[in-house]
């Protein structure tokens, strides 16, 4: 059989080098896409006829919100793979994603507050969409606090994986909250089922920014995974061999 040997890449030693080679490219892609996305969002996209210039918050608010949910789902997938196959690297990827996810959830909440004030007249309301996104933030913080509180890394992995899997139920609640309940937050502007309800240039800017945030999240997670691997495997043979030249 001529298939890719996935077991090779599930070894932390191989992944460490692969992630080190890939991360700079993802950082570069994130930087380039951000410049392009902000140019579209601030220069090419016209003023909104209802909201004026305040709508330009959309180019950071929506990408950060999408990625805050997506990263949690990816964390839960790594958690499931880790629990099913007991692979160390899966748990390391799970842990590497959490701080970036928490940061983007905070950005979503913060930019949402700054958008809510001029459009709704309130920084915060206990609306279903806002509240469920706040719970997502607490889930990320809870995940990190739980992992930090358990000294044995194997047990910390398993406990973290459980919280990641149980918490993932919150993601569809966030996503569908605007349909299930009467919310102040508007419904989805973009969905797979129907044509987007916004101007093409605004949509383009938003999607380019979403890719920028995505590439950044991958770069940050790869960098953090490398540090986690080093921290956990510093007594192993391959780390010693790799660092031998530097000693």
């Amino acid at each position: 059989m001529n298939s890719i040997n996935w077991y090779k890449y599930s070894s932390p030693a191989t992944f460490y080098n692969l992630a080190g080679r890939l991360a700079p490219w993802f950082y570069a892609a994130a930087a380039l896409l951000s410049v392009a996305g902000l140019y579209i969002g601030f220069v090419l996209a016209p003023t909104d006829f209802q909201q004026g210039e305040s709508y330009r918050i959309i180019f950071i608010h929506v990408p950060a919100s999408w990625m805050s949910m997506f990263i949690y789902v990816v964390m839960a997938v790594w958690a499931a793979i880790g629990l099913a196959f007991n692979t160390r690297l899966s748990f390391m990827m799970m842990s590497a994603l959490a701080p970036t996810g928490a940061m983007l959830t905070f950005v979503a909440l913060w930019t949402g507050a700054l958008w809510g004030k001029p459009t709704w007249g309130a920084w915060w309301v206990w609306d279903a969409r806002l509240t469920s996104e706040l719970i997502l933030f607490f889930l990320y913080i809870g995940f990190m606090a739980l992992q930090a509180a358990i000294d044995d890394p194997r047990r910390a992995d398993r406990a973290g994986a459980l919280i990641a899997l149980v918490g993932v139920v919150n993601v569809p609640i966030i996503y569908f909250s605007v349909r299930w309940w009467n919310t102040l937050h508007q419904g989805a502007s973009v969905s797979v089922a129907k044509a987007p309800s916004m101007a093409t240039i605004m949509l383009t800017g938003m999607l380019v920014m979403a890719f920028a945030v995505w590439m950044y999240a991958i770069a940050a997670a790869l960098s953090r995974a490398r540090s986690i691997i080093l921290e956990r495997e510093r007594n192993s043979q391959w780390v010693a061999q790799m660092l031998e030249s530097k000693v």
Partner: protein, 64 residues
Amino acid sequence: MNWNSWSEFFHMGGYALYVWGSYAAAAVLVAGEVLLLRARRQNALKQALRAVKYGKAEKDTDSQ
């Protein structure tokens, strides 16, 4: 083109606080995360180098 001058651009049609407050917070948080990532990497490397040195010393005493 939406803007006739830089001051008009920074004014953001009266929404400067909200628009720039959003992007500034995001920029600060991303920059902060990148700095934290670098610090963590340097610390992990330092600890690993120490472990390698310590491991070597241990091996040397074993052989004596």
